[in-house]
């Protein structure tokens, strides 16, 4: 087994600090109180005998009494009138869509319990992200309002009814219309054709109305830039699948940028095992400040400061076009400078097959990006302006103007639809001051959130699982939203409220949507309404993507970019990037406990945001990890956050996640982290997510709840990787397979697997680490959320986790002479060289999903004293919860540390009041999976309920099982198809083929536990094809 690289999960492990060495030997995060019990005082106490007898007597008596209890009487209450389509015990599936992703909603006995991607969606079937997977929990959120609210005579919001609200609102709207003042509907971007039509009808009824769209995370920069450059005010459709070379400047396109899951599917299609088999792999450069999910997946990642992004783009433009624009130099960042020259050359070589994207929301910057993309022939191939993405259409300037209008007292009524500006607007004070001057304030929020508490009417909206509706994520593509449960509370769909208030002919929204589709959409597609309800999504014939050439002058643009960057590079200030975290995004779903406990893909922090600093920079400032520092911007906004030392963060910069610090969202999400929205600034007509701050130490310390350093692998060879060049020479490069296997001896009998042999293959090249599989597994398998304190004690319950390993990727000493790994910025460092390195800025990352490996010779099975975990004849490691007595021997003996112990009854314990501690939320539980009790071990079961279900279906239909009949929850959710599951006994199954790949290796195969999960080596396309 060759060990070519050294990996580490956290800085403590890398540096091998004495603390870490000490801690890694301990099983528990906290010392056990053994000393207290076994010390002299404990042993020499005088009372034992009598007390012992008393306790014994009581215990015996109690047990006897408990055993005398008669069996409980269970009631069985059938339907009075059973809906025809419901068979208790059999799920029904309905198509719907969430955030433009077409989904299947699984319902059991009429309640939605799981969201799955829609397999009929064709090109739309791109997996689901963590938000979509978690969204089912939002339906069962107890923090929602149970009925509409109306301001009473005392001025307080109190329970009301729809008739009273309609009467009040209609009268007030008529008054507002008559007053000659303005009426405003404020919403996040809406792409639903029916909702747009409803708003248009409302505007007809109240002509003083204007619809203002804004997004907490704005893409106005791109829209305005495209309007400026090509006369098309749109977010284009990006085709990452057509790009052999992707260069991103701060755009987290695999995570949070525009539509991460779609881009992941496209991007991975050029890098996964199928693509590698055909000898093709794209190349990806990432220039960014904070370590993003996309950055961790880049072949080459170059940290740059926020202030360097503009000059970097100018330099790239110069390199491609040969123009000599001023300002295109990065004197302080040699690596980036060198990398940009290389990128420029490669882009020219890949004309028409390359794509440059930028995460900036600055119009000038995006115009420059347009110019670069035009120069490398991206338009018509990798960028499609004619079938634009309609997810984001917010207009920052219009929204900023609304604040001014309100403050001038020009607005008589304002309606907040799917928006919460009091929380997520940059200048909260100006907004709330203005809001106070508005006569009628209506919110459609489902809870008393930051904005709705300041309103006169809270006309609570349905959850999307209770709603009718539609979406159009791309021009010409339509998907339907259909209800899967009757409204649980006395809510009313916002569109229906608007229809009621505008007194149109159709007041029922279902009828409205149907009319809208039947009159406008279906004739174009040639389909019927029933087709829509079955398929859920329709794509019209896309228009041919036109080629566009950037023909404008950059004269006005360049000075603006340079000024922006100068404004950020202030002496004595730290450049701060505020970004969306992969789990929390813009904070709309902050009350979703699944998302709060989803570890950040890079930092592995749960339940908090933090300020990320580079190791060297933190050292320089004198901060240690978890020190609480006070972050203050020049407007005077201050928050205290713990420091997280983040390798790969650009020097002189800091990053803080948005979406935290909600104060009125509900039980789980209130006061988790700090709100970073006020750091956003409004300049040059758009919102900017970069600013400068100063830091001061507070002296406090707050340990973040990280899952990162929970499990040390003691430097074992568990990640294997190779470069693309090596792979092309020898497909098994780096996998450890090239030298043949050792002869091995077994202590155990060989298990026969005469029927099926359930195995899994995981493609490390496809996995981006997004974490959607974790949430999918949580929902499918009733995995409890444990909360921040318990995560700190290493007690999170996730059955699948994604381990993140750092390694170096720098110009090592004495490296230039070695031809094998190339030279320059792309060189891979050998372990022996790491001793000489200390540049933690430039790290590369591997994500490794880790779940129960279902070992054939499972070490956990041999140590269980009660045979609660045993092997099955189809290759699975079974776990019988009712047999487990909780010795935890198995967890100790598991080399992969994938067994999780239930320290508490998380679903019925007031100390864990995050989500499941009430009967309503418990409706989200999957009835086919036991909820585990306190004192029981659990772990990945390979979704055995799905395996058994799939087998039974085949048996009833009297047919053999087909490959693909059974899918794991994690596999289904994965946009990248990184997880392949199936029958290893079927030589033609997808998984058998994958496991025959030369790249396959088994984690810790040297200990001969014979795992059932194979991993494919990580391949990096880092070799320089062009010499810098």
């Amino acid at each position: 087994m060759e060990s070519n690289k050294r990996y580490w999960k956290g800085l403590e492990e890398y540096k091998n600090t004495p603390d870490f060495v000490e801690n890694s030997k301990n099983e528990f995060a906290e010392p056990l109180p053994i000393e207290d019990v076994l010390n002299e005082a404990g042993l020499s106490t005088v009372t034992p005998r009598r007390d012992f007898l008393k306790a014994l007597g009581f215990g015996l008596g109690a047990v006897t009494l408990a055993a005398c209890q008669t069996a409980p009487v269970h009631k069985s209450i059938p339907y009075l009138i059973k809906p025809e389509e419901v068979v208790p015990g059999i799920p029904n599936y309905y198509v719907s869509s969430y955030n433009g992703q077409s989904v299947l909603v699984k319902t059991r006995e009429g309640r939605p319990i799981k969201i799955e991607p829609n397999p009929n969606a064709g090109a739309f079937n791109t997996g689901t992200d963590a938000q979509t997977q978690a969204s089912v929990l939002d339906l069962y959120d107890v923090s929602k309002l149970k009925g509409p609210l109306l301001k009473d005579s005392a001025g307080a919001l109190s329970d009301s009814n729809w008739a009273a609200i309609d009467q009040f609102v209609k009268a007030e709207l008529t008054k507002a219309q008559a007053s000659g003042k303005k009426i405003r509907i404020v919403s996040s971007s809406i792409n639903s054709p029916s909702t747009i039509a409803v708003v248009a009808d409302f505007i007809v009824a109240y002509p003083a109305t204007k619809h203002v769209q804004y997004d907490a995370i704005s893409y106005t920069g791109i829209i305005k830039a495209n309007e400026n450059s090509f006369g098309k005010p749109v977010v284009p459709k990006y085709n990452f699948d057509k790009a052999d070379l992707v260069v991103s400047f701060g755009a987290d396109f695999l995570g949070t940028w525009i539509s991460g899951e779609e881009f992941t599917a496209q991007y991975v299609s050029n890098r996964d095992y199928k693509s590698l088999k055909s000898g093709k792999m794209s190349r990806h450069f990432q220039f960014e400040t904070g370590m993003s999910l996309t950055g961790t997946n880049a072949d080459t990642r170059v940290p740059i400061k926020l202030s360097e992004e503009g000059p970097a783009l100018i330099a790239l433009y110069n390199a491609i076009t040969g123009a000599g624009l001023a300002g295109g130099s990065l004197p302080a960042n040699v690596t980036a400078d060198k990398a940009l020259k290389l990128v420029g050359k490669e882009l020219l070589q890949n004309k028409g097959k390359a794509l440059v994207v930028s995460g900036s929301n600055d119009v000038s910057t995006q115009i420059l990006v347009n110019a670069i993309n035009s120069a490398i022939g991206s338009y018509g191939t990798t960028i499609d302006l004619d079938n634009p993405n309609k997810r984001y259409s917010g207009n920052d300037a219009e929204f900023a103007e609304l604040t001014n209008e309100m403050n001038r007292g020009e607005v008589a009524a304002v309606l907040f639809l799917d928006s919460n500006p009091v929380y997520d607007v940059a200048n909260t004070k100006a907004f709330t001051d203005g809001l106070a001057k508005v006569g009628l304030k209506i919110s459609f929020s489902d809870r008393k959130d930051e904005t709705s508490t300041l309103c006169d009417v809270v006309a609570i909206n349905h959850n999307y699982l209770e709603s009718w509706g539609d979406a159009s994520a791309y021009e010409g593509n339509y998907s339907i939203v259909q209800p899967t449960i009757n409204p649980v509370f006395n809510s009313r769909q916002a569109e229906e409220s608007l229809l009621n208030w505008s007194n149109g002919p159709v007041k029922e929204y279902y009828q409205y949507v149907r009319n809208n589709w039947e009159s406008k959409i279906l004739p174009v597609l040639g389909k019927t309404w029933v087709d829509v309800l079955q398929t859920g999504v329709f794509a019209g014939t896309p228009k041919a993507a036109g080629t566009y050439t950037f023909g404008l002058s950059l004269a006005a643009v360049i000075p603006s970019i340079i000024n922006n960057s100068k404004a950020l590079a202030k002496e004595g200030q730290i450049e701060l990037q505020v970004y969306q975290s992969v789990a929390m995004r813009d904070g709309k779903h902050a009350n979703n406990a699944f998302l709060q406990e989803l570890p950040d893909p890079v930092s592995k922090v749960t339940w908090d945001n933090y300020i990320a600093l580079a190791p060297k920079f933190a050292d320089k400032l004198g901060y240690k990890e978890f020190d609480i520092v006070s972050v203050k911007d020049d407007k005077g906004y201050t928050i205290d956050l713990p420091v997280l030392i983040q390798p790969g963060q650009a020097q002189g910069t800091a990053s803080i996640a948005l979406g935290y610090g909600r104060t009125k969202v509900g039980k789980a999400g209130d006061n988790v982290g700090k709100n970073a929205y006020p750091f956003v600034s409004f300049t040059n007509g758009t919102y900017k997510y970069a600013t400068t701050v100063s830091l001061t130490a507070t002296g406090g310390r707050d340990e973040l709840a990280q899952t990162q350093t929970h499990h040390s692998f003691e430097g074992r060879n568990i990640i294997r990787e190779a470069t693309f060049t090596e792979y092309k020479k020898n497909p098994s490069a780096g996998s450890g397979n090239e030298h043949g296997k050792h002869k091995s001896y077994d202590l155990w009998d060989k298990y026969e697997k005469p029927g099926n042999n359930w195995v899994m293959a995981i493609d490390l090249n496809a996995c981006t680490g997004c974490g959607s599989c974790i949430v999918a597994c949580n929902v499918e398998n009733n995995i409890p959320v444990v909360g921040k304190d318990e995560v700190r004690r290493r007690r999170e319950m996730h059955w699948i986790r994604i381990d993140r390993y750092y390694s170096f990727n720098v110009e090592g000493e004495g490296h230039a002479a070695e031809g094998e790994h190339g030279t320059g910025i792309n060189a891979v460092t050998k372990e022996k060289e790491i001793a000489h390195l200390d540049n933690l800025d430039n790290v590369s990352v591997v994500h490794q999903p880790m779940l129960c490996q279902h070992c054939d010779h499972a070490p956990c099975e041999t140590v269980c004293p009660v045979l609660a975990t045993v092997h099955s004849s189809d290759g699975l490691n079974h776990m019988a919860y009712n047999r487990c007595v909780g010795t935890r021997y198995c967890a100790n003996n598991c080399p992969y540390k994938v067994r999780r112990f239930n320290w508490f009854n998380y679903w019925n314990d007031s100390r864990f009041d995050n989500y499941l501690n009430n009967e309503f939320t418990q409706l989200v539980l999957n009835p086919d999976v036991t909820t585990r009790s306190r004192g029981v071990m659990e772990k990945c079961s390979m979704c055995i309920q799905r395996i058994q279900g799939g087998k039974l279906k085949a048996k009833i239909e009297k047919r053999p099982l087909k490959d693909g009949d059974i899918k794991m929850a994690c596999q289904e959710a994965c946009s990248a198809n990184a997880i392949i599951f199936g029958d290893g006994n079927d030589p033609n199954s997808e998984v058998s083929k994958a496991l025959r790949s030369e790249r396959i290796y088994y984690v810790l195969e040297e200990i001969n536990v014979q795992p059932g999960v194979g991993y494919m080596t990580k391949i990096r396309n880092t070799d320089t094809t062009v010499q810098a």
């Binding site: 055993a67 069996a71 009487v73 269970h74 009631k75 069985s76 209450i77 059938p78 339907y79 009075l80 009138i81 059973k82 068979v87 208790p88 015990g89 059999i90 026969e752 005469p754 029927g755 099926n756 609660a868 045993v870 099955s872 004849s873 189809d874 699975l876 079974h878 776990m879 019988a880 919860y881 009712n882 047999r883 086919d928 999976v929 036991t930 909820t931 079961s941 055995i944 309920q945 058994q948 087998k951 039974l952 085949a954 048996k955 009833i956 239909e957 009297k958 047919r959 053999p960 099982l961 006994n985």
Partner: protein
């Protein structure tokens, strides 16, 4: 006690009916018409018609009293012909309900007349009166008879005791006359005897041994049967009889337990399934023209008013059945797996007759259970034993083809049981 009172009640009832019958003077021929008509009515009409209230069709007693008999006969035989012929009365009559009445071309005029006679006469009156008389005296009789029996027993005990005393006294007198002196020391000697017994070590050992064995076996049996509820027969909110429905009426199990062949749950039927029959089947004949109180419970649950045949949603109240077959939450059982996939194998193993449903294998002779009870122990041992013993019927199910191929190569000639295919591995039922 309930049984005794029931027996007494029945005896009294029949005696009263007999008396009433002999007193009443009823024309024998007329009675014959009515009896024949009642039989025909039950066979042909009762699924849609009731005598006193509207059902799918109108209430017949009132309707036939107002109709001309000749028209009624024609209508019953083929109402459509009347309508087609343009009969105004017939066209008017079709307006009662959109549901179309069946044709009865095979009924003779005499038969139809009998039905009409029965419908006009209503349910035999004499029986009702007699029944009413019987019910009026019912409670008094049963109480009286119980008290009587108790009195007789008490009296006989008193007599026996008195006689015993008398005999003893007489014996004493005889002995005294013979000059025998009677020493009254029996009680003392008894106590001494007991004490002596406890000083006997052999006896004490034997006593303790017996105690230990009996307690031990009691404990052992108790523990084995903890949580085993064979024979569990709770009182259900509705006295539903499987004997009547599945036995006498031969209704297929799946008619009500529709999930059994599709899902893991056999499902308890929803009340609307009951209404398929019980909208018209009201067992009024057994309850003196009143709707059976048990059937009335279905109506109450649904908020159904049989008089107006309307449902009132606000009065809905689901029936809360007591679950008889309880598996713990951590055990997964799937009905369809057993009754669809495993049907042939289970039938063979359990030796079920062809006319018996496969359900009987575990649920026992449901068709003879007036009230349902748990027939099988439902213990894990019981499951496992069956999985070990039952030979799978794999022929004709292509699912097993591939599995069997591999399997048979390894285990030539061995019996293929669920256990051989992994059917007793923990995770197959516990997840």
């Amino acid at each position: 006690m309930r049984n005794i009172s029931l027996i007494v009640k029945r005896v009294w009832k029949s005696a009263l009916v007999f008396a009433a019958l002999s007193v009443l003077t009823v024309s024998a021929t007329q009675a014959q018409d009515v009896v024949e008509g009642r039989k025909l009515f039950k066979e042909n009409c009762s699924s849609c018609h009731q005598l006193t209230s509207n059902s799918t069709g109108p209430a017949l007693t009132a309707k036939l009293n107002e109709l001309d008999e000749a028209f009624a006969i024609k209508w019953i035989r083929n109402w459509k012909a009347l309508v087609d012929a343009g009969d105004k009365q017939a066209i008017e009559a079709t307006k009662f309900s959109p549901a179309e009445m069946s044709f009865f071309p095979r009924l003779t005029d005499v038969q139809i007349k009998s039905i009409i006679a029965y419908a006009k006469a209503g349910e035999p009156k004499k029986k009702e009166e007699a029944g009413a008389a019987a019910t009026a005296t019912d409670d008094g009789v049963s109480d009286f008879s119980v008290a009587g029996i108790i009195a007789i027993i008490l009296l006989s005990i008193v007599v026996l005791v008195v006689l015993g005393r008398a005999i003893k006294m007489l014996e004493r007198l005889i002995l005294q006359k013979q000059g025998v002196v009677i020493v009254e020391d029996e009680a003392v000697s008894f106590a001494v005897g007991i004490k002596g017994l406890f000083k006997n070590k052999k006896f004490v050992f034997f006593f303790i041994l017996c105690l230990a064995i009996s307690l031990g076996s009691f404990g052992w049996m108790g523990m084995w049967n903890t949580g085993v509820h064979t024979g569990y027969q709770p009182v259900q909110p509705i006295k539903f009889s499987h004997e009547l429905h599945a036995g006498v009426n031969q209704i297929d199990c799946q008619y009500c337990h529709a999930g059994a062949f599709k899902s893991k749950n056999a499902t308890i039927p929803s009340s609307n399934v009951c209404m398929n029959c019980h909208k018209s089947v009201q067992a009024t004949e057994k309850y003196d023209g009143q709707i059976s109180p048990e059937i009335q419970k279905i109506y109450n649950a649904l908020g159904y008013d049989p008089a107006t045949q309307t449902y009132d949603k606000s009065k809905e109240k689901p029936v809360e059945w007591i679950r008889v077959h309880n598996l713990p939450d951590f055990a997964y059982f799937n009905h369809s797996q057993h009754v669809v996939v495993g049907e042939a194998a289970i039938r063979k193993e359990k030796g079920l007759k062809p006319n018996e449903p496969v359900c009987f294998a575990c649920h026992g002779p449901v068709d003879t259970m007036p009230e349902i009870y748990q027939y099988s122990p439902l213990t894990m041992k019981w499951c496992i034993n069956c999985h070990k013993d039952t030979k799978l019927e794999v022929k004709g199910n292509a699912y097993y083809d591939k599995i069997i191929e591999t399997h048979e190569r390894i285990k030539k000639g061995e019996k293929i049981t669920p256990a051989a295919l992994g059917g007793i591995e923990c995770g197959k039922c516990h997840y």
